[in-house]
């Protein structure tokens, strides 16, 4: 990754041609995922009784996995820089506990407390960024260490009986629905997903993030302030983890220090399945969003079908391995897949697709 390539990053990623105004449609990987999602939903609705109990009930299924999606958005930003954030689970738990304790201890409004919780999550992420950039510690090690520390702090603050029984208006964030049909979580995730899509794919900030992941030396020579950008990426990841923690708190109407433990492995799976390279520098938010929906609905469908939690977890692992193996065999980032799909379907082969092969 540290080879000296010519300024290739400019031809990289969907927004590369942004200046000329043309916009690349979803890449091969994203299109394949979308097809999988459509087939999956059709299959589940057809096969699993009770998967589609009406539109409202169907949408309500998403309440179970959209918190994972929130974390995945923030984690994507970090992974695009070539880093990783193993502390998202601990940050989610700790931030939610901070918010809940402020509410029950200082009698702050739950919404104000949640805002402070979000800020605290940002701070925890920023600390990760500082450790990585100032102390020169690899992201994997730094966030592994801070995840231990944040988890301890969360357990210590929560004490023996963490707060629970939040006001109903707050719990609605986790389980309520607008007009009884559209869960509050859906517009929340949708708005944030669009924001992240614009931020990563269409903004200067996103270009720099992807560039750092593609070739950090090139980014530095191009004048990108790498430490500052990395701190920003980890801060974003912290805020999103905190958001997930707060939504989970509303979902359960309770907080627990180990609440976020389940988040980490599943969200990394979502990000990677979405086509983001674990080495950074390539991937799109659209892919991650589709992967969140694929994995989320698959899991819910299997649970409703009567499979145990562990069997669905096993399947998630198998899907991750299978997907990456297929991606590798077809060449980097679904370029080969795009060609294949194009050949099978209409004959519109984008010039960009083969050029993006690694």
């Amino acid at each position: 990754m540290d080879d000296t390539r010519p300024p290739a990053p400019v031809t990289q990623g969907p927004a590369a041609t942004g200046a000329s105004g043309s916009r690349l449609p979803l890449g091969g990987w994203e299109r394949a995922l979308l097809a999988v999602l459509a087939l999956l939903l059709a299959g589940l609705i057809g096969v699993v009784p009770g998967f589609y109990p009406g539109f409202g009930g169907f949408l309500a299924l998403s309440e179970n996995f959209l918190p994972f999606g929130l974390v995945a958005l923030g984690l994507s930003t970090v992974i695009l820089t070539g880093g990783i954030d193993l502390s998202v689970g601990a940050v989610a738990g700790l931030s939610a506990i901070v918010a809940a304790e402020l509410w029950s201890g200082l009698h702050l409004s739950i919404w104000l407390a949640s805002l402070i919780g979000l800020a605290a999550g940002g701070m925890f992420g920023w600390i990760n960024g500082l450790i990585i950039t100032r102390l020169n510690v690899e992201p994997l090690i730094a966030t592994l260490a801070t995840s231990f520390i944040y988890a301890s702090a969360g357990t210590a603050i929560a004490g023996a009986s963490p707060p629970s029984g939040f006001p109903d208006s707050f719990n609605a964030l986790g389980t309520g629905a607008i007009g009884g049909v559209l869960p509050y979580q859906v517009p929340l995730f949708a708005v944030l997903a669009i924001l992240f899509g614009l931020l990563i794919g269409r903004s200067k900030f996103g270009r720099r993030i992807v560039m750092i992941g593609y070739n950090v030396d090139a980014a530095r020579y191009a004048g990108v302030r790498v430490p500052r950008m990395l701190c920003a990426a980890y801060t974003i990841s912290g805020v999103m983890a905190a958001a997930a923690g707060i939504v989970l708190a509303a979902y359960y109407s309770a907080v627990r220090p180990d609440m976020g433990d389940v988040l980490l492995l599943t969200t990394i799976t979502m990000v990677v399945l979405g086509g983001v390279s674990i080495f950074g520098g390539e991937g799109s938010i659209a892919g991650v969003v589709i992967a969140v929906l694929v994995l989320g609905f698959l899991r819910q469908g299997m649970l409703i079908w009567g499979f145990s939690d562990m069997v669905t977890t096993m399947l998630t692992g198998a899907i991750l391995l299978g997907a990456i193996a297929i991606k590798n065999m077809l060449g980097g980032r679904g370029a080969g897949l795009a060609l294949l799909l194009a050949r099978l379907g209409r004959k519109r082969v984008r010039q960009e697709a083969p050029a993006r092969a690694r």
């Binding site: 020169n136 510690v137 690899e138 801070t146 096993m314 990456i324």
Partner: protein
């Protein structure tokens, strides 16, 4: 061919050797200092019972860490060590509890389980070119799911006498060396020799240092990668059997519940192994695990609430790695 391989490995190891020995000495000094400091102020810390406990407690993690160290030396990572440990402990434990599986059969079974699961990891990494962190994340889900499937809601709470002897016995009355420590010493000696004094060890370090250069130098990169993951699985399985014998219990969350995969990475890093590959210390990993065990026990003695133990672990990782980074930078300038 082998000359170039030695060159690649040698260049990585020469400056590394001085640093590494310093890290090992530092760890020994820090361990002794901690023991002295606490035993002066707290009674019973130096007691035979407690010393025994601290050493035995670190054995399982040391075994796991040794496998992890080999994998990290090739620039890989193995997150699936925890479920591999758990699967072995649970699988052999259930058979021992249910049908009185003889100890030697349990040992043979552990070896097979470890090698098979580890080789699956290795094949995925080396043959399908799936990044190690993704591969072992996927197999983590698979193997921990398998634990639930085989447990079927039951757990192990008692093991036959022979198992307990292996886990808690001593060599002889006049030479009270615990048997698990002997097992660890044998494994450490073997892996230390393998890494530092064989062609395979040089291949491991060369692949971790620069896999393209290693490939061009004629080193069998694919075979080396498969071998380290298989060895990691084998050591995780041995750790699982020792865990079963030592504690006499196993549940569906054995290994994964305590996040042993993260702990095994932690002790390798504390021991001076570089996460970027190409530099590893077997002795450092064992010393790191012992140091961790001593510090955590010391925290008990100075009445730090247990909830802060993992924070202490995190701080130790940061301090040792950041300090190593400082020393490296100082040595370079």
């Amino acid at each position: 061919m082998s000359a170039a391989g030695t060159l690649a490995a040698g260049r990585a190891r020469k400056p590394g050797r001085a640093r590494r020995e310093r890290r090992e000495l530092t760890l020994i000094a820090a361990t002794i200092a901690t023991i002295l400091l606490v035993s002066v102020s707290r009674h019973g810390f130096m007691g035979e019972q407690n010393l025994r406990f601290m050493i035995l407690d670190s054995v399982v993690l040391s075994l796991l860490g040794l496998g992890q160290t080999l994998v990290i030396a090739t620039k890989g990572i193995d997150l699936s060590v925890a479920p591999m440990l758990g699967l072995t402990a649970l699988g052999t434990g259930l058979l021992a509890q249910g049908s009185g599986l003889p100890l030697w059969e349990a040992a043979a079974m552990s070896v097979v389980i470890g090698l098979v699961l580890g080789t699956i990891n290795g094949l995925l990494v080396a043959k399908l070119a799936i990044p190690p962190i993704i591969t072992t994340l996927g197999t983590y889900s698979l193997y921990s799911g398998l634990m639930f499937v085989i447990s079927n809601g039951t757990q192990v709470d008692a093991v036959p006498h022979a198992y307990a002897v292996l886990g808690n016995g001593v060599l002889a009355r006049f030479l009270p060396v615990p048997i698990p420590v002997l097992v660890l010493a044998a494994v450490l000696a073997l892996t230390w020799f393998m890494l530092g004094h064989t062609r395979f060890g040089r291949a491991v370090l060369a692949v971790g240092n620069n896999s393209t250069a290693a490939y061009n130098a004629g080193i069998a990169v694919t075979a080396t990668q498969i071998a380290v993951y298989a060895l990691s699985g084998l050591l995780a399985a041995i750790a699982g059997l020792m865990f079963l014998c030592y504690t006499g219990s196993a549940t569906v969350t054995t290994g994964t519940g305590d996040h042993m995969e993260l702990q095994s990475i932690a002790v390798a890093l504390i021991g001076g192994t570089a996460i970027a590959g190409g530099r590893a210390s077997m002795l450092g990993t064992v010393l790191g695990s012992l140091f961790l065990s001593v510090v955590l026990t010391a925290l008990v003695f100075v009445h730090v609430p247990p909830i802060w133990y993992s924070a202490g672990e995190g701080l130790m990782i940061l301090v040792t790695v950041a300090a190593g980074r400082r020393a490296q930078a100082a040595a370079r300038s």
